[in-house]
């Protein structure tokens, strides 16, 4: 096989892109395996040091916060629950509302769709006070429900599902009807399996969205046992500066590396479906 100059250039660009993505992560990982003093005196590291196990163990299990009770492990669990709840409910609600909008041709379907779509202009940060007021009146502060519920409606996902359902031929619905399918079974037996790749993609996006939420959990939670990873990142960065203690740089890197794992796992796990759906058109 002859290699063309254009291919070489393309590969150089691709390799540069890969390096741009991977090198910062590698530096963080390598630095997390050293002693904080080493990093403070010698700068960030490219090679693995000997403090790996100690740093990670400390980050995961050290009790922090004012109450000295919350650990990073607990925060990971919180974030995971929150992201999972948000992603699952967002996908379920969006798919179902899109189904209603496309297949039940009630009079106000179009205005209602646009109303949903307009909420894109009002992200949580804009409506954070009313949202807080409602959640607090419902007594949901410091609960997983309170963390998840205000974030479960998604105009974006509804829009994508709607566009997808519109491409499904009417005959399929008619044929299913004649085969005795009712509204619910058509959704479960047809739309869900047909859109499973779509569901996987939406789940990935929404999981990462939920996982990286910062402002909402910060406002919502006063009890430390509901802290999330992203909040912890802020805390670990600002703590114990005034005292004589050295900044714990290595542990911070370890924390960052750990915080990346859950979303990466979700992407890696669902990618198989995602790609399978892209190469296999089943419609």
């Amino acid at each position: 096989m002859k290699i063309k100059p254009l291919q070489i250039i393309a590969h150089i660009i691709l390799i540069l892109g890969v390096l741009l993505m991977v090198v910062p992560i590698w530096i963080s990982f390598a630095s997390s395996s050293h002693d904080s003093v080493t990093i403070l005196t010698e700068g960030m590291k490219f090679h693995i040091g000997d403090q790996l196990a100690r740093n990670y163990n400390e980050v995961l299990n050290e009790k922090g916060g004012w109450s000295e009770e919350v650990t990073a492990a607990k925060m990971f669990i919180n974030s995971f629950i929150m992201a999972l709840g948000i992603a699952t409910l967002k996908v379920v609600i969006s798919a179902m509302s899109a189904y209603a909008l496309v297949y039940y041709r009630f009079k106000l379907a179009v205005p209602i769709f646009w109303l949903i779509f307009i909420t894109l202009l009002v992200p949580l940060e804009v409506r954070i006070f009313p949202s807080y007021k409602i959640v607090s009146d419902l007594g949901l502060t410091n609960s997983y429900t309170g963390l998840i519920l205000p974030l479960v409606a998604s105009a974006t996902a509804t829009f994508f599902f709607r566009q997808f359902y519109k491409t499904i031929p009417d005959e399929l619905l008619e044929s299913a009807k004649l085969d005795g399918a009712n509204g619910w079974s058509f959704f479960i037996d047809f739309l869900v399996p047909l859109s499973k790749t779509m569901i996987a993609a939406m789940f990935i996006f929404m999981f990462v969205y939920g996982y990286s939420q910062y402002l909402w959990p910060l406002i919502m939670t006063t009890a430390e046992e509901y802290w999330t990873v992203v909040m912890g990142m802020k805390i670990i960065y600002t703590e114990s500066y005034e005292g004589v203690a050295l900044p714990r740089t290595a542990e911070r890197f370890a924390y960052i590396i750990l915080s990346m794992i859950p979303p990466v796992l979700v992407v890696v796990f669902l990618q198989k479906w995602f790609i399978k759906g892209l190469i296999q058109t089943e419609k």
Binding site: L172, E174, S175, L178, T281
Partner: protein, 350 residues
């Protein structure tokens, strides 16, 4: 009351389009009925009303003695084969066939039995585990029919199921559908715009135009005895030749020739229809045709040309006759097989 009864069925779409006009029709049990007509004539709408996929604006549909107007499609016990088959893309063939049965709460063993029987009947047993995307057009067609057969419905509805197949496969599937229907004996309605399909499949034929049944009868009745200009032009291939003429005192004067002693008291402007296959060559005959083009089909030759008045005309003769381009043929109408229609209403007058 017959098995399927349509009484003054009318369909008006919300935008005011009247797709079907007060149509009444009875279909007997086990009969193969074909709706044929040009696209947009309302034949599919009529079929979909029987299936329950379209609301009935006015009139009644009775199936097996029960009024169907308000019955949900899933409760009607009808099965339909769609033009693009509408197979369930994410299910394998087995599940495509089994889905309707599962919804009816039939137990697993019975389902398996029924699916396997239907698969054997349609020769798709080898493909049961495949997805529809891995099947050829003909196989998909069979699966679509299997899905209909397996439920053992009261009535089969076919909505132009052959139009996505290539010509050879279409003829083959046409035969198979006919055989299958005779074997299973289920009442069927078949919608098509192809008059050859209609003629070959039908026990009875309904020629539909502009939402009205123009003529109802066996294929041969309709071919031999078209009641209107539309039916005469639609049924038969190549199309019937039409010539303008005038009828007076039982004498038809067409362009360039006359026919006497016509069995009709009608007087006025008429259209004379002659099928290309009802002509023969003879000396000093009525019609003189200047040959422009000959299509040799093997068994037959289709001769296209012009009459004296430049009117296009077609003549069908046995394939063993040699006809030269540019020659003049002298043609007679065999056995007085001609049709005369009132030019203004299109109604048959002889």
């Amino acid at each position: 009351m017959s098995f399927l009864d349509l009484k003054n069925v009318t369909k008006i779409y919300p935008n005011g389009t009247k797709a079907v006009h007060e149509t009444s029709l009875s279909i007997d049990e086990g009969e193969f009925m074909v709706f044929v007509g040009p696209s947009g004539c309302g034949k599919s709408t009529l079929l979909r009303m029987v299936a329950g996929l379209e609301d009935i604006t006015e009139g009644d549909i009775n199936l097996d003695g029960k009024l169907m107007n308000e019955v949900d499609p899933s409760e009607r016990d009808v099965a339909m084969v769609f033009q693009n088959y509408a197979l369930y893309p994410h299910m394998n063939v087995y599940n495509n066939l089994a889905y309707g049965l599962k919804n009816r709460g039939i137990d697993k063993e019975t389902i398996e039995q029924k699916v396997n029987d239907a698969a054997k009947l349609l020769q798709i047993s080898d493909y049961l585990q495949r997805k529809p995307s891995m099947l050829s057009g003909g196989q998909r067609q069979r699966v679509a029919m299997g899905r209909a057969i397996v439920r053992n419905p009261k009535i089969f509805l076919f909505d132009e199921p052959l139009s996505n197949l290539d010509a050879k496969l279409r003829i083959q599937m046409r035969l198979e559908i006919k055989k299958l229907q005779q074997k299973v004996g289920v009442t069927s309605i078949f919608v098509t715009h192809d008059q050859v399909e209609a003629m070959t499949l039908a026990d009875r034929l309904a020629v539909i135009n502009n939402g009205i049944i123009e003529q109802l009868g066996t294929p041969i009745e309709i071919y031999d005895n078209p009641k209107s200009l539309f039916v005469a032009g639609f049924i038969g291939s190549p199309q019937m030749n039409f010539l303008d003429g005038n009828l007076k005192n039982k004498t038809l004067s067409a362009e360039g020739f006359e026919i006497k002693d016509i069995n009709s008291d009608f007087e006025g402007e008429v259209t004379l229809g002659i099928r290309p296959e009802h002509l023969s060559q003879s000396e000093n005959a009525l019609i003189s045709l200047k040959v422009e083009l000959v299509e040799q089909l093997g068994s037959d030759n289709l001769v296209y040309g012009q009459l004296k008045n430049k009117k296009d005309f077609c003549y069908r003769c046995p394939g063993n006759q040699t006809i030269e381009k540019g020659s003049n043929l002298s043609l007679n109408i065999e056995n007085n097989k001609y049709y005369i229609f009132d030019k203004s209403t299109g109604k048959r007058v002889n």
